[in-house]
Assembly symmetry: C2
Homo-oligomer: 248 residues x 2
DNA sequence: TTCGTTTGTATAGAACAATAGACAAATAAC
DNA sequence: GTTATTTGTCTATTGTTCTATACAAACGAA
């Protein structure tokens, strides 16, 4: 068997330039393209993908817009940013930790909060009665000034009244729990899936249509095993991978 | 904050009918559409998405082709298959186990095998010298007659000579290892990412372009902690979610 | 300067995607 | 049988995407 060549599919509902942009972005991440910081010429790439040079230019234009590439007339096209962030998923690790060595600047933003009755899914995850009051937090995480994830979290409103304000002041879920006397908490289970970003995610994460998000649905429990947080986090698939360590 | 409405983005490189098909497929999986097994009428859906009925029909046609929907003239459009398979990822669970209750018929197919020198990534994962001989297995997994995952696995060729034949006869990695005296093995680490399916995956997994695959890159070790298998598995994101249990 | 290389711009035609309106065919209820 | 509802088919028009060809502008080296 030969190594599979990158290729494109016609009349599939996805424009050729977008398919090519996705493949170039992926190849850069994998290091199979632009490993020396420089992309092959437009003519070479257009021949490689079997499309017209203009089609390939559309793909490059999209990646320049995203900040992945930088094109200089007369010189060539260059890789602007490469590495993927790796988010550890394990019982004792928070999403936000373990990233300190990977990125310079990192922050979380509270977009919105609400008090609402629990949906079936949320009630089940938190072990509450349906329609029980829960606090919902909408947060955005950035690394090096770029959005990397968008999360929706739910908390038992009776046990954690005013959690949103505490979070807004501390900027940390961990510190928020400490305020309520929970010294430590554990990730019980995580469901990972992937889908195309919806319009809300596209706006918040500053993505272009067709982008992919990794979705992690997690239940966190206190030391007694009682669920304290249910969170649905959408990660930008191009910039993030999830690392599951299952050591004994 | 209101519940976000499904919406579509124009001239984004992704055709409207494909965006709509993705959203319908996702809504069916989430149970927010066709929960009673029946889809709203074409006219109702076209108004909901703000497109012409013909555009919406293209989306439905794609989902019928995928086997997600079934349209009957004069009666309506119905959901053909709904539930997502949930693959557990933990230290002691194989990918293939834990699915027995979820699906009736399940099988693995050996597509191809090869003896080759290890790439940098494979050598690093298996703890071998670069260019060391490794056996590569290309496998396809089906559940209920439908492809759900496509895996590429590498094994140390010196330690497991003829592994491909053993696998072909037994149809199981676990039994293959037992043949070589390894009674048990453990998942050491897993990296999860997501991307658009490439053309090879599109063909093997019978997907249409633009489809998403969940990629799990895993290292399995024997009881002594020595790496015995490195695998890159691509799951059909529409049909699978990965379940990470991080209990103490 | 001169030349070859590379990205940027322009124009026109072909292929595909989306809209619009009209009608046919099958189904279910009356 | 009649009617309303729903999916299936057809034709025409407009906008977007892709191709083809040509040339301009910037860069680097001889």
């Amino acid at each position: 068997m030969n190594e599979r060549e990158p290729a494109v599919t016609r009349k599939s509902g996805v424009a050729l330039w977008r398919q090519i942009a996705d493949q170039i972005r992926q190849a850069i991440g994998a290091g199979t393209l632009g490993a020396d910081g420089r992309l092959p010429t437009e003519i070479a790439l257009s021949e490689r993908f079997g499309v017209n040079r203009h089609t390939l230019r559309s793909a490059i234009a999209a990646l320049v817009q995203e900040g992945v590439l930088r094109a200089e007339q007369g010189r060539g096209t260059f890789v602007e940013s490469r590495q993927k962030l790796s988010y550890p998923i394990s019982a004792r690790t928070r999403f936000s930790t373990g990233l300190r060595e990977q990125t310079r600047e990192r922050r979380s933003i509270l977009l919105a909060d609400a008090l609402e009755p629990a949906s079936v899914r949320v009630a089940e995850a938190l072990g509450l009665a349906p329609e029980a009051p829960v606090i919902r937090l909408e947060t955005l995480s950035e690394a090096d000034g770029r959005p990397v994830s968008r999360a929706t979290s739910w908390f038992n409103a009776e046990r954690f009244p005013g959690f949103a304000q505490v979070y807004a002041e501390t900027g940390s879920i961990t510190l928020g729990f400490q305020y309520f006397g929970i010294s430590d908490y554990f990730r019980k289970s995580t469901l990972v899936s992937a889908r195309h970003a919806d319009t809300a995610d596209l706006a918040d994460l500053k993505l272009s249509a067709g982008a992919i998000v990794l979705v992690a649905r997690a239940i966190n429990v206190d030391p007694a095993g009682v669920p304290v947080q249910y969170a649905e986090t959408r990660f930008v698939a191009d910039r993030v991978e999830l690392s599951v360590s299952t050591e004994a």
